[in-house]
């Protein structure tokens, strides 16, 4: 467990940011999650999560120059912070520990 809990959706958003590197802002983050998970994502949920992650110090953001095709509005680019990377690693470790000794292919169900 991390010192501040990381929800499943928060993990996905952080991983998408990690994949996108310098090009991470709202639109590509949504696309990245949808492409990799194959499921629809509520756009608003991504923005709310980004706001929460920034408040937790897991990501930081900077504004680009405004462009006409965005109605004169700037893009908010996000970058993964050290705290965020640490939280992701811990979440992965926790999952691995939980998986240890289990074979995903032969999970027994009733």
């Amino acid at each position: 467990m991390t010192h501040q809990g990381l929800g499943e959706f928060e993990q996905m958003v952080l991983l998408a940011i990690a994949h996108l590197r310098d090009d991470a802002y709202g639109i590509p983050i949504v696309e990245e999650i949808e492409r990799r998970t194959g499921r629809r994502v509520a756009r608003a949920a991504v923005y709310i999560t980004l706001r929460r992650l920034e408040e937790k110090g897991f990501v930081s953001s900077w504004m680009s120059d405004p462009t006409p095709e965005r109605g004169g509005k700037a893009r908010r680019h996000v970058t993964l912070e050290a705290e965020g990377a640490k939280a992701l690693r811990e979440a992965r470790k926790a999952a691995e520990r939980m998986w240890h000794g289990l074979d995903p292919a032969s999970l027994r169900t009733r």
């Binding site: 923005y47 980004l50 006409p68 095709e69 965005r70 893009r75």
Partner: protein
């Protein structure tokens, strides 16, 4: 590519989005959605992109609103209390578990929210409108208010030039008045139009340049200047087929020929709803005494840097000085700077006729019933969950956590219901707008448009929150409060919170209200349906009717009182000429001039000459000597109006009444020679009027279900053509149809005098059909409201009954186990319900009797003896049916299960 040439997302959702998303995310969310919108629009077209944008916006609104709420609650409760998506899901599941309660409760909230939101939307768009002109909020009206008489003094032409000269805080000061004139076509047919006589400065104040030509200029106002007119886009399009060379063309308005000098752009209808503008001649050389001259409205723009307050301060100084110089009787008038639209709202006081008061009465009672039922449902449900709440508390849930969850559950219900309510409002406002256009003859002020604004949506959201707090938080606080300990203590013993006295009181009041309210509503609905479905009492296709106005064509600069006598004489002569001219027209049997159509009397209160007779309301219509003959109305007693009555003063002329008047107002007996008078509401005593004749009821009264007839007392007063300058002219035809005769009538009117304005010309039976149609629509509304009241009442009874049976499960189980026959248990359950219903019905009957007595029989009109017991019986049946279901469920309780479940 510049930003301006790129498409932009729809404005309303975008504004909503920006309102809901918090500051720190607003610009990037807006920008991202903008970017996606532009891409989508290029790929799949504007409609699909707009739809996508709306859906995205709604999703953002919901999620961000919830996020804000969660944060606020988290701050308040310090951590674990914030509602989660899980709470919402749980809420939805609980709603789905009891669909009946959810639907009825939701319906109640939806209706209550709809009424609240509609009120808000109407008040905002009609009473606090945004003026859709450049810096429209800086446009002001200047008025003078007589605080003692509570009247606006509109004769402002004395003050106008002074204000114009001396006020520095208000610029582009202008004045206008609305006049009706005939637009005379080349074929000689006159058609009434509404014209703004406005100072040239009005166009500067509005800051809208013309589409073609020019606006009015100061030179046009000078005495002897050629007559010019500026026309609006709508008439340029509809009447002049968008003729690009229209400027310079001449048209005849009233008696004068005007040259068109300009066309205003689409949507421009300043100062109110105008499409024709001619100069308001204000001759600076002519001095107008205070309080004389025609009524005008004065307006202007706040100068740069000026505020309403600074303008008011300057105006007060100027007005005081002017008042000190003028006559004493005008010194008390208070000159005011008002928001531009405010002065136009004062005249529009709501109609005080019976239908609107009936509707108001129904709506307020409806609100009471709705509020009570929702309260009942919520109370019942929360009480049923006391056990669950106690268990959760025992397992460690904090009070804040439980309240939050109940709030989230309630929010699911109130949120959905509010969406439905908003939908109702959208449809309702559209209907309201249509009714408004009809009511104002298409002349709706340019700032009035009742669409759903951003504020309305936010207000709906606030109402949904409020409802969720009332429905979820209050009961939750009560349930988790001091009583909780009691519930926890009683968990094992099976006894739960009792509802005895509250429950009985709620059911009793509910039934009583329904029994007392439904009969008058049903009767009103019945009358409206009857009116709508029956044939008129006159031969269809034989009568053509038209409203007419004889114009007082006084010059704006001259005092109206100087001209009034002469104008009235000339109006009388014009009408006499018209009637004489019609008499010579082949195919015309006769013509009559009245204040309204046969079914359009004014409701007045009359008192009789005998000490015992009390003041009663009756319909009064003013007719001329040919009215009864033209409609073939039979005289029953006495005599009709004759030419000998005409020279008498209006108040000395005899009156004629109908058969119903004799029974309803006079209470029977010999009517001829009896005297009646209008009830006086001031110190002045009204003159006595003597009854000279009795005619049969026309139109014939409607039969009520009880065999009685609706109130149809009617009194006729005499007025001759020319005495009424604004009335209804009805012509009976033989050998030609109303439609075929209409152009002839217009031509005749214009040939008699070009200033004679005919409007709303129509076959009399078509006019009756319109009247009947609006009655039918009203009946539909009454029926809907009545239906929902019954449904809510039944649902309330059902919910409470279910709760009671639920609480008696243990008792029923034990009795079943001990071998009590099912019938006896059913009887005992129903007996309680029947007792409560009986009590409610009796109380309702008592209230109904009081209403009937205090209204002098007007509410139920003699049908009370039939309708009230029928409603009472109906409510009893509804109540028993509502109770029977839960009672039967109670019977199917297995003793062992009932005992174990406790």
């Amino acid at each position: 590519m510049s930003a301006a040439s790129l498409p932009s997302p729809p404005r309303l959702p975008r504004a909503l989005l920006r309102r809901v998303v918090p500051d720190e995310s607003r610009d990037d969310v807006d920008g991202d959605l903008h970017e996606l919108y532009v891409t989508r629009r290029a790929a799949s077209g504007p409609a699909a992109a707009a739809l996508w944008y709306w859906l995205e916006t709604l999703s953002f609104i919901m999620r961000f609103t919830f996020d804000r709420l969660a944060r606020a609650l988290r701050r308040l409760a310090g951590g674990d209390a914030a509602p989660s998506v899980l709470d919402l899901k749980l809420g939805a599941r609980i709603l789905a578990k009891s669909p009946g309660l959810s639907i009825v409760g939701g319906l109640g909230i939806a209706v209550a929210v709809a009424l609240g939101v509609a009120g808000y939307a109407v008040v905002n768009s009609y009473f606090h409108p945004v003026v859709p002109l450049h810096e429209g909020d800086r446009l002001v009206s200047i008025s003078k208010f007589d605080a003692q008489a509570r009247l606006e003094e509109e004769r402002l032409l004395h003050d106008f030039p002074i204000w114009r000269r001396e006020l520095h805080t208000v610029t582009d000061l202008g004045a206008f008045r609305t006049v009706r004139r005939n637009l005379v076509s080349e074929s000689g047919q006159g058609e009434p139009i509404t014209v703004a006589e406005m100072t040239a400065s009005g166009f500067r104040a509005a800051r809208v340049p013309p589409l073609l030509g020019r606006t009015l200029l100061e030179d046009d106002e000078q005495p002897g200047a050629p007559s010019v007119v500026v026309i609006g886009f709508d008439v340029w399009q509809s009447r002049f087929a968008r003729d690009p060379s229209i400027v310079g063309r001449q048209i005849r308005i009233g008696r004068a020929v005007h040259t068109i000098v300009g066309v205003m752009p689409e949507g421009f209808a300043f100062p109110i709803s105008h499409q024709y503008w001619i100069p308001l001649p204000v001759d600076p050389r002519v001095s107008i005494a205070p309080g004389t001259g025609p009524s005008v409205n004065v307006f202007g723009r706040l100068a740069a840097g000026a505020t309403k307050e600074s303008a008011q301060a300057e105006l007060t100084v100027v007005a005081r000085r002017v008042a000190a110089e003028g006559p004493a009787e005008f010194a008390a008038l208070h000159a005011r700077i008002l928001p531009y639209t405010e002065v136009f709202l004062h005249g529009e006081r709501g109609g005080s006729n019976e239908t609107t008061s009936m509707l108001r009465y129904l709506i307020s009672l409806f609100l009471v019933v709705v509020a009570m039922n929702v309260a009942v449902l919520v109370y019942a449900r929360t009480v049923m969950r006391t056990g669950e709440i106690a268990v959760r508390t025992a397992l460690g849930a904090t009070r804040a956590r439980i309240v939050t969850q109940l709030f989230a559950e309630a929010f699911v219900l109130s949120g959905l219901a509010s969406l439905v309510g908003l939908g109702i409002v959208v449809v309702g406002l559209r209907m309201f707008d249509r009714a408004l256009v009809e009511m104002l003859d298409g002349e709706v002020p340019f700032w009035m448009h009742s669409g759903i604004s951003l504020g309305t949506v936010v207000y709906t959201l606030a109402l949904a929150m409020l409802a969720a707090v009332i429905v979820g938080v209050f009961p939750a606080l009560r349930a988790t409060g001091a009583k909780l300990r009691g519930a926890m203590g009683s968990l094992g013993s099976g006894a739960k919170a009792r509802l005895g006295a509250t429950w009985t009181a709620l059911i009793v009041v509910q039934v009583a209200i329904t029994v007392a309210v439904l009969p008058p509503a049903l009767l009103k609905g019945w009358e409206m349906v009857q009116t709508a479905t029956r044939a008129p009492d006159f031969a269809p296709g034989e009568y053509v009717a038209t409203r007419f106005v004889v114009e007082y064509d006084a010059d704006a600069s001259t005092s109206a009182s100087q001209n009034h006598g002469a104008a009235a004489d000339s109006a009388r002569a014009i009408m006499n000429r018209l009637v004489a001219r019609l008499a010579t027209e082949p195919g015309v049997v006769g013509a009559t001039i009245t204040t309204g159509a046969p079914w359009e009397g004014n409701t007045e209160t009359l008192e009789g000459d005998r000490a015992k007779t009390e003041a009663k309301r009756t319909s009064v219509i003013t007719v001329d000597t040919s009215y009864f003959k033209l409609f073939g109305v039979r005289m029953l007693q006495g005599r009709t109006f004759t030419a000998a009555d005409v020279p008498l003063r209006y108040s000395d002329r005899p009156v004629i009444v109908n058969r119903s008047f004799v029974t309803e107002i006079l209470g029977g007996g010999e009517p001829i020679g009896r005297r009646i008078r209008y009830q006086s509401f001031s110190k002045d005593v009204q003159p006595w009027l003597t009854i000279a004749g009795v005619v049969e009821d026309f139109p014939s009264p409607i039969r009520n279900p009880g065999g009685t007839t609706t109130r149809s007392a009617q009194m006729y007063q005499l007025a001759m053509p020319g005495e009424l300058t604004e009335a209804l002219l009805t012509i009976r035809l033989r050998g030609s149809t109303p439609e075929g005769f209409m152009p002839t009538l217009r031509r005749i009117a214009t040939s008699v005098d070009p200033s004679l304005q005919l409007s709303k010309m129509s076959a009399l039976d078509a006019m009756y059909r319109d009247y009947a149609k609006s009655g039918a629509q009203l009946a539909l509304v009454v029926a809907l409201i009545t239906g929902v009241v019954i449904l809510l009442s039944a649902a309330g009874i059902h919910a409470l009954m279910s709760l009671a049976v639920n609480q008696r499960r243990r008792e029923i189980g034990i009795r079943t186990a001990l071998g009590a026959p099912a019938q006896r248990i059913l009887r005992s359950v129903l007996a309680r319900a029947t007792r409560q219903l009986g009590l409610g019905v009796s109380l309702g009957l008592a209230v109904a009797v009081i209403i009937e007595l205090t209204s002098g029989g007007a509410m139920m009109n003699g049908t009370g003896l039939l309708l009230v017991p029928a409603t009472a019986a109906f409510m009893l049946i509804v109540g028993i049916i509502a109770a029977a279901g839960p009672a039967r469920r109670g019977l199917s309780v297995q003793p062992t299960e009932a005992l174990r479940s406790e």
